[in-house]
Amino acid sequence: MEHGDSICILGENGSGKSTLLRIFSGLLKPDKGTVKVLDKDPYKQPENLFIKQKMGVLMHSNMLYPQLTLKENLSFFSKLLGIIEYKTRVNEVADELNISRFLNIEIYKLSNGNQRKASFAKSLLNDPEILIADEPDANIDNDTIETFSNIFLQRSKKSKANLFTSHNEVFFKKCSNRKMKLNSGSLSEL
């Protein structure tokens, strides 16, 4: 994977796309073989801290605290990412995803689509070098798909990499400059 690549991994349900993304993000350790992200091992401390600093992850689950407001969630993760001007950054990503009006609302009170946007906002907080996204287009309307697509394209233009899965043809055709298919445990470029 090179700078500016926006790779979409395609495959049937259960083909292992999410598992592959979890392996790349360091959440799962492969049974065999090795993985290198930014030339470092994602499972070894302290070198994986470098990767985590430069990676944004959006998984199938939104990974947010439902009892906390959107602002509290984003502020918490910004602080862990070591973002000094975190209040400004939280407002920036919320504006980018058009969810500023929900900043003071608890996550559990938001619709599924807005929760998805909130989770996407979390993964963009550190303006990551690599964005790993598992079906980012799930549960969102067409306008939001447009917003997400623009963010993916802008990231590619800035030489940042995206690795994502999708079943939405419009979305992946617009957002990806490379496509791969995962079939029976084998990944092939299309």
């Binding site: 009892q67 906390l68 862990l80």
Partner: protein, 224 residues
Amino acid sequence: MKNWLKILLIISGKDMLIELKSKEIVVTITLFSLLVVSIFAVTSSNPSNLSAEIGSGIIWASIVFSGSIAMSKFFSHEEKNETLNAVLLMPVPIELIFFGKILSLFLFLTISECLIITAFSILFNSNPLSIYILIAIPVFNLGFSCVGTFFGIISSKSRSNEILLTLLLIPIIIPLIMFATELTRAGLEGIASQNFNLWLSLGILFDIVFLVVLTFLFGKIIEQ
């Protein structure tokens, strides 16, 4: 060091904020313990004459059982929302995540114990508050939170996590329960504990051993 402390406070501060909003953990521990203490109070023919041995047993048995239920709740929420994974994806050393959770549980337990001891002193017309219990509480809470965090995270993956956590947790913390009940008994009797130094050494040793071993193992299980 300053940065480590900052991360610890961020993680624990977030748990405190969630607790302030949901009031789930402290309320679970306090209510369940109060029920146990109240049952003993109403079924005892003369609560004022309760022996120190039984009194200390009532206090710590209620804290241990209600604490383990609250811990399983605490970690099952993390598992359900995958929020622990979200924190693991942050550029934070795994050990600090472990310590942050220990600190949160330590604080929840301490707040609950203050309420439980107050209720005990009212219901049984006795004053368990002494230098012994003031020493027993932090030493017990540190060990209980440490073992509870470790097994809480492991058992949260299981469907029957509440039973599993209680079964894993209680046998391991028996030395800590013995330490806490012994010191509380001495406090209730109002006489100096003969083996105070021995019990205190046991409690502190337990905390150190489990903190070191489980911190190391926590890193390993998360890696796997």
